[in-house]
Every structure is written in structure tokens, then in C-alpha cells.
Amino acid sequence: MSSWKLLFMSLNRQHGFKARPALKGFLEEAMDGIERSRISPREAVDRAAKKFAEYIEAEKK
């Protein structure tokens, strides 16, 4: 089992430490977008999820 698979498991069960700073950053960006540009929470979480997916793909390589 790869370390990323193990990390995913721990993300859902607890949350993997390595991915935490990235997720925090994406959430901060989401909130910043809501505050500054008045984007909707839907758009904000879509952006956060997209960036988190890109981060995970980059880390897998």
C-alpha cells in the first residue's frame, strides 16, 4: 500500500499531517475569496477542492 493511500485513509479517519498545511491554505484562500470578491461558498469549496486535487496529484509524482 502506498504512503499516499495510507495518508488518504488517515485523512478520512483523522487527517494526515502532511496534507494539513495545503488544505489550510486552500481554505484560507476560499475564505479570502468570499471576503474580498464575495464569491459564494459553493464556488469557494469548488476552488479549494480543485486545488487540493492538484496538490495531491503533484505530490504523487
Partner: protein, 341 residues
């Protein structure tokens, strides 16, 4: 044996006190602690030590670090150590909370043991509750109720047209969001590792925060320790932190009656456990590895984990510890801790 960890302040002091006790009661083992300034520094130092093949005997780690160390083949499987220990029984293993056993088990093998585990909790100013006509011994238990309390506690007390007392403040972080997401019925990723935090539950979690910030105007954003400092200064009535935050808060005088409570819940009452675990690195010397296990077994035994818990507010890792005299006497003396221990 060397033990690298990232605990400092009152947490590090308690750890040192307990290790001194272990060394005093174990003639043939001496644990020497090496405190590292932060978890980030600890991670970097451990990685460098593995590359140099000079890793410590024991270290405090997070799950994702463990995953990497397993791949590198540098960890002792702890179940191989406790299976050959006649003084560690199946009952002992099952006494450890299932969530801790599961999060330390990788592909069927237990490579780490729970060490310092904590949950998110609310700290609140009972005096502010009383001043606003709220029962100081009751904390909201649902999102809706929390939002209602937040509106009541947000006030302009001197009539200058500016809010000077707030219900809460928000330090946007992944731990808080993960809790809200799960409470709304969502998950961060699916079983294939794809992010699904933008589900309807994710929108609901974010909307909850946004409504308090911009619709109710009963919360404000903070960074770092601003939130805790404002709570200590009486500016904000309800503050979300780690259950261990109180150990740090107690370093300064607290000039109001403080209450602790579990997080309000929504569709589910799920709350993510955080905190670190402990591993034994391979040394090629089984006697040394057994000695490392002996320390872990001692530290996580009911008596020690109970003591660790009442001194630091980390969670006890064993069920039986909650029934111990140490914890029961502590909760009888300080019942407010029942909300977070």
C-alpha cells in the same frame, strides 16, 4: 535510548517528569529525551536522521510520517514486540480506544502507538454568559443554537456604534473545517483519494462560517494566537481550540470563570482526533527494541495515561484509565473538565 519529540512548555515538563519516573523504576533502561522546537523541525530532523541511518530509538510522529517510514522500512512493527511480551495481553490491546488502534494500524500491522491525542473543544466565558442572561453552566449543543448564542453575545457595550464584545472568532483551519464537514455528513476525500470536500455538506460547512461572519456579523477572522489572546482578554465569549489549549492558557492568570464544552454538532456528532503517536525505529538490536517497547507500554498503561491526561488535558488512550482513581478524583474536583477529557 533516545526519544525525539516536539513537546515544550508545561507539556514537555510533564513528559520529562514522567520519563524521570520511568528511569527511576527501570534499572536497566534509560530514556534520554531530545526535545525538538516544532513538529516541522522534528519531521525534518527525523528524515535527515533516516537518510544518515542515525535515527533515534523512539520518536513522536504523525500518521503520514509513519506511512513514509513504513515504506522506507525503518520502523519496528509494534505488534511483533507486544505479541512476544507476556505482560501485554489481548485485553490490554483492546483497552486502547478503537479509533487509536485503527489510526495506528497500517495495512493490518500496528506500527505506532497513540501518544498525545487531543480533540477540538470550546472554551467559554461564563461571566459573559451570565451578563447576557444565559445559563453559565450550559453550552450550545447544535450549530443553530451556537449561532443563536453568538448573536446574543455580540454587543456594543459602550454605545460608540462599534462592536466590542463578540460571540466568537474564527481561525480558518483544516481541523475545524474537517469537523464541520463531517458533522454536515461529508468527507474530505473518497475511497480512491479524490477530494470531495465540495459536496453539499462542504458548502453547508462553509456557509455556516460565512453566515456568522457576514450575515450575523457575530464573528471575526483571526490568525495565529489572536483568537486565544482575545478570549483571554474578555473580548470574545466562545473560543474554539484544542483540548490542550487550556494547559497553555493556565500559564497566564484567567480573570473570569471559564467553562469547557464539546463542539456543537449538526447532522452527526463526529469530531476528528488529532495529536501524535509514537514509534520505535529499527536498531538491529532486538534487546534495544524491546526496551523501547517497554517504555511505550509503561507510558500508555492505565495509570500513566491517566496521569498524563489530568496534567496536560491530552486524552487518555485507554478506556480503563477513565475509570481510574486519578481521573475520577480529578473530574470530581474539577467537573468542568468533563466536557473535554
Amino acid at each position: 535510548m533516545t526519544f525525539w519529540h516536539g513537546l515544550s512548555g508545561p507539556l514537555g515538563d510533564t513528559l520529562n517528569e514522567m520519563i524521570a519516573e520511568f528511569n527511576k523504576t527501570h534499572d536497566d533502561i534509560e530514556v534520554v529525551t531530545i526535545p525538538i522546537s516544532s513538529y516541522t523541525a522534528l519531521s525534518q530532523k527525523l528524515m535527515a536522521s533516516i537518510q544518515a541511518k542515525k535515527q533515534p530509538d523512539i520518536a513522536q510522529v504523525f500518521e503520514s510520517w509513519t506511512a513514509k517510514y513504513i515504506e522506507a522500512g525503518v520502523l519496528c512493527a509494534l505488534d511483533s514486540l507486544f505479541n512476544e511480551d507476556p505482560n501485554f495481553t489481548v485485553e490490554d490491546l483492546e483497552d486502547i480506544y478503537p479509533v487509536f488502534r485503527e489510526s495506528n494500524t497500517f495495512d493490518g500491522t500496528m506500527y505506532s502507538f497513540p501518544f498525545n491525542k487531543s480533540v477540538r473543544a470550546y472554551f467559554y466565558n461564563k461571566d459573559e454568559f451570565y451578563r447576557n442572561g444565559l445559563d453559565p453552566n450550559y453550552f450550545p449543543t447544535t450549530w443553530d443554537e451556537f449561532r443563536h448564542y453568538n448573536r446574543i453575545l455580540t454587543r456594543d457595550t459602550n454605545g460608540d456604534g462599534k462592536i466590542d464584545r463578540w460571540g466568537t472568532n474564527l481561525n480558518i483551519n483544516e481541523w475545524q473545517f474537517i469537523n464541520l464537514l463531517h458533522q454536515a455528513g461529508g468527507r474530505i476525500i473518497d475511497d480512491n483519494g479524490n477530494p470531495i470536500l465540495n459536496s453539499d455538506a462542504g458548502v453547508e460547512a462553509l456557509q455556516f462560517l460565512v453566515d456568522m461572519l457576514y450575515k450575523d456579523k457575530s464573528a471575526y477572522l483571526v490568525r495565529g494566537y489572536e483568537g486565544q489572546n482575545d478570549f483571554m482578554a474578555g473580548i470574545v465569549a466562545m473560543y474554539e481550540g484544542s483540548s490542550v489549549s487550556i494547559t497553555h492558557m493556565r500559564q497566564e492568570p484567567i480573570n473570569f470563570n471559564i467553562g469547557f464544552a464539546p463542539l456543537p454538532t449538526h447532522k452527526t456528532n463526529q469530531s476528528a482526533v488529532s495529536g501524535a503517536n509514537i514509534v520505535v525505529f529499527k536498531s538491529g538490536d532486538r534487546k534495544r527494541e524491546r526496551a523501547a517497547w517497554e517504555f511505550i507500554k509503561w507510558f500508555t498503561a492505565a495509570e500513566q495515561t491517566a496521569y498524563w491526561s489530568v496534567k496536560t488535558n491530552y486524552m487518555p488512550v485507554r478506556r480503563s484509565a477513565m475509570q481510574s482513581d486519578v481521573i475520577q478524583n480529578f473530574l470530581a474536583k474539577y467537573p468542568i473538565y468533563q466536557g473535554i477529557l
